[in-house]
Symmetry: C3
Subunit: 226 residues, 3 copies
């Protein structure tokens, strides 16, 4: 077991592997698993039945793991819900909130004050800025960049593979600029850029780049009359 500070509250049957670092005033739920390499700051709350510090794996048809990751860093004052999974190689900054059933993969950074919704999934190699709202069941594909103060509505879907596995291709997710707002259940295609303060309507399918300060909706997404 790890060296656990006296003011940590650890739930029953929690498993904390050797080498885990835990700050002051941390609360860890029941049955939660914290694997080696995880570093937890001060005043962090973690729910029950989570798995933190997962080592990436793959099979022969998936992309190779490019490197070994050996740290998951969770900074001060962050709250993590129940039944959450987070990988090694990832940084969860201060004052972040991660909802129940969410999953965050390796080589991801989530910056200060951002909310990751319930059952949202963040794939590998993605960056999420400060004070973003990523709502419930959002799918953030691999290799995505989200700047600060972005709002992504529930069930938004993204992809990063233009050829859907048919060709060799450098995977690239969407690039969403600051203060953009994406309506619920919209679909974003690989590599598209969404400009600053731009609004994308619910259920829209964004197939090409959109500039700053636009309002787009529909399938495929088109500029709305103003």
């Amino acid at each position: 077991m790890a060296n656990i500070p006296k003011n940590t509250r650890v739930g029953k049957h929690a498993v904390i592997e050797e080498g885990v670092k835990i700050g002051e005033n941390v609360i860890i739920g029941h049955n939660t698993v914290i694997l080696k390499g995880t570093q937890i700051g001060n005043n962090v709350e973690i729910g029950s039945n989570c798995v933190l510090g997962i080592q990436p794996g793959s099979n022969k048809r998936m992309r190779k793991i490019s490197q070994n990751y050996n740290q998951l860093i969770i900074k001060n004052n962050t709250k993590i819900g129940n039944i959450v999974s987070i990988y090694l190689g990832t940084l969860i900054s201060e004052n972040v909130f991660i909802g129940d059933h969410a999953s965050i993969r390796e080589n991801v950074s989530v910056e200060e004050g951002t909310v990751i919704g319930r059952a949202a999934i963040v794939e590998l190699n993605s960056r999420i800025g400060k004070n973003c709202t990523i709502q419930t069941l959002v799918y953030i594909t691999g290799d995505t960049i989200i700047e600060d103060n972005v709002f992504i509505g529930p069930c938004v879907s993204m992809s990063n593979d233009k050829y859907m596995g048919a060709r060799e291709y450098t995977l690239i997710g969407p690039y969403i600029k600051q203060e953009a707002k994406i309506g619920n259940n919209a679909s974003l295609l690989p590599g598209i850029t969404i400009g600053k303060r731009t609004i994308v309507g619910s259920g829209a399918v964004v197939t090409k780049d959109i500039g700053d300060d636009e309002v787009f909706a529909g399938v495929p997404a088109r500029r709305m009359k103003s």
Copy 2:
């Protein structure tokens, strides 16, 4: 540990906090966590690795928790799957079925005989009537009202925030009247009403109120020729 009736079957490593109430002939799976304030009726079955009776939390960018909730009530003959999370402040009525990986937040009521699908998510302050079918991966946003005998197809998405976090706004989800049927992966906008027995097609985006006995489809949803 709680006072557990003799005819309760409790799985290994289950955690049942002090003050939990459990009826007759209850089955609780392995590694399931039942937190204080949870009240379980008779003949209830609960799977493994669940977390029940969660206290709501938030960060500074989320809406304030309006009150303390101290009870989760699960009534007789209800079945709860595996890896499910349910909050305090919620009522799950009799003969309800809740699928694996589902999550239900605080101040929700799910009435008699309703099925909540696998990995479906029900946000706070929502009411779901009797004998509804809420299918897999449905997202029921906060402040939603669903009357009796409603069918919501898989992956339907809802939102409750017209301004996507940009303005102060009273959050309001959809209002879905009795016997309405919503096709899979449809998107419902904040505050819209869907009339009695109305059918919404798969993938439709419902942007305004629809009356009773209508059939709507498309993006945005329009009346279908009859």
Copy 3:
């Protein structure tokens, strides 16, 4: 407890019920629950907090369980992530990869080399061929057939109930032929066929059969000009 070979690595607080069979060089994570009837091949890796070998259940408004299932078979060299649930009556073949938070129901077969994405859900009575890629948060409805080498993008939704619970109806999911590719967040209606090598665009709603070698997109999906 089951008879566990000496070279098996079993995590802390894992629950392995009597009658579970485990091959050589198996790794089982912490807090994972393996219920009776589960048979695990050689070199299988299973993450933490999973529930494997679940007995199907239902309530009075769901379809009856047609038979008793008593085996979940997981073949050699397969990897299963964390927080995964899989039912009895199902066959997971060799070299399969199943992502975290995924859920697979009874009477399903997943053939060799297929990847089932994170939080993807596979309902009952479905067949998934060899070397398929089923991406994150895909919903595979009951009674679906997917041939070999199919690519299904993230968040694709399917349904199998034309009348949405209103009438007696033989449930039938989509039939997706070999090498077809389905874009992210597309919706597939009950019983439709998608031909060999056919491509369906992101966010499309497929309402009728599509032949081989086609490219379809839009709501409803139409042939794209070539």
